[in-house]
Symmetry: C2
Subunit: 336 residues, 2 copies
């Protein structure tokens, strides 16, 4: 039994920079047609020059693979309309991080005062530049995302024409918010469709499944699965694949992030198969929805998978993937 996906897209991807970029870029480029590239480098990607230079470095790291890096900018409330107009053709979204909330987000936003944000968000709204948001407060780890929903609601109400993407949602609270506001969208990772906090800290501690936002409760995972499997039109796949060197994950004080890029499509195929969801829904979740939300036309590329065991490698150039050493039930058999 095989299935073919057209132009799969990863709408939330960390490719890092330097040696790490060299080490892992092909993991995404070999199975995806394109990806939305996160700008949280050190220092962050925050100027037109940064975007252009980073895109070049990505293209170089990808080599022969056909893969479109859809670029984003690190949000700054001082961006003015002129700047946004000048950069509009180089990016497809702007990523907002609350200050200090995850890896390399120290320069993020503190406070979400609508009046202070009115200038930049009105301009983004008029220029049709989506706002991608890491939606967590500084509250208790299991509540951070649900607490942030009121901020999403405030922004969605104040800027009704602004496309707001709730990135890597992990809770029923965020899923529920999707349908309350026309301009709220979401990405969902494969790991949050598969695991709960039990997998991170219920048995032994598993640093390779530790990420931000942290995996939540079974009922949260159920809510995420429902909208993913039905291919809710406002939801698209974004892996949030986030490589760290093995040492940074396995040492005391483990860094946050799950590396899924090389196995994301296989796991998605397995999940949709096990749930008896239609292949069209997987196609929409992993490409069609993202194309419509962002208005993009990806590079033609087909990936064919079949139901045959795949033993996940122990690492990819020193980066340990999710389910390292375990056997998953789908394999990629050809690309075109």
């Amino acid at each position: 039994m095989s299935l073919t996906l057209n132009a799969p897209l990863d709408m939330h991807l960390h490719l890092r920079d330097g040696q790490m970029l060299e080490n892992i870029a092909k993991c995404s480029a070999s199975s995806f047609s394109g990806g939305l590239i996160m700008p949280n480098l050190v220092p962050p990607v925050s100027t037109k020059e940064d975007v252009i230079a980073y895109k070049q470095r990505i293209i170089q790291a990808i080599g022969d693979e056909e893969f479109e890096p859809y670029m984003t900018l690190f949000f700054d409330p001082s961006f003015d309309r002129e700047f946004l107009e000048s950069i509009k053709s180089d990016i497809i979204g702007i990523k907002l991080y609350p200050a200090g909330i995850t890896t390399n987000s120290e320069g993020g936003l503190s406070g979400f005062d609508v009046e202070e944000l009115r200038g930049v968000l009105t301009a983004m709204s008029e220029l049709d530049i989506p706002l991608c948001v890491h939606g967590e407060t500084n509250g208790f780890v299991m509540d951070r995302e649900a607490e942030f929903v009121s901020i999403y609601e405030r922004l969605a109400t104040a800027f009704p024409k602004l496309k707001i993407i709730m990135e890597h949602i992990t809770t029923k609270a965020s899923v529920d918010a999707l349908d309350r506001f026309e301009n709220l969208y979401a990405t969902i990772t494969i790991h949050h469709l598969l695991i709960t906090l039990d997998d991170v800290a219920g048995g032994m501690l598993n640093p390779h499944l530790f990420c931000k936002p942290i995996a939540k409760r079974p009922e949260d995972r159920d809510a995420l699965r429902k909208v993913a499997l039905e291919a809710h039109p406002k939801v698209s796949f974004g892996s949030d694949s986030a490589p760290h060197p093995r040492e940074a994950k396995e040492s005391c004080g483990c860094a946050a992030g799950v590396f899924t890029a090389p196995i994301a499509l296989q796991l998605l195929a397995q999940l949709f198969d096990e749930a008896d969801a239609p292949i069209e829904n997987l196609q929409a979740f992993v490409s069609g929805n993202g194309q419509k939300i962002y208005g993009i036309s990806p590079i033609p590329k087909t990936i064919t998978l079949e139901k045959s065991p795949f033993v996940v490698p122990n690492d990819y150039n020193g980066v340990v993937p999710m389910y390292a050493g375990e056997t998953i039930s789908y394999s990629i058999i050809s690309k075109d």
Copy 2:
């Protein structure tokens, strides 16, 4: 400013065996008058001979220190009255583990059928042997203890004269159960009085604070603090200090347990001081309540602490304590 504690007791303590016992026994013996010793060795302590031999090994490891190891037995539903009578003078409690719920609990109990347990629990009840319970189900990690409360209630109702100790409670649900049943008691650790899940997995992952039951929500910690600080008469201090070699904590698949024995009294003094709680309450929480609940008269021993900075060592014979390398505000200055 100094304070003197009389005969401090640790009513829930893991001393392990072999080299680990040698390495850490004095950490407890040097500051406590006695401790309730957990029986989850491999194989578990489940016969009179086991208890006597293990106690001897502990006394040997302690050396010159004055410290009473109050022994427990690993619960088995097949214990009969004759056996219990024969062992009553060697132990002060029997510890029940649900199967597979924590370190070395593979031989624990599956199912809590009152009729199946009637023989052994009636005998324990009549012989006044307390039942110490690790109260967690196999459910979602944040719900396991709260789900177990209904089992506590079932046992407390069916065996109203049996003293049931809810060990190392971590939730408001367990605190609330205390006053609903005359025969329910509890121990509380110092780490669960200090941390929440945020400290384990809210920033970076901290394996040295990973334990079972896992630290819960801020409101749970508040409920625990309330009954500890007021020295609720049914609650006593039990550290659940659980040493693992550094490698077992810091490697992938970290073992559960927080090692607090050598700093428990200092942290308790700091907590009660910061909360402006009366010293009598600390004395009751850390000794008087346990004496009354178990009907024991500990070895006379006084420990004097003062408010002066103590830098927690990075390890004690290869075991990393809670707050390793950090400075806490109380020090032990003399023992008598």
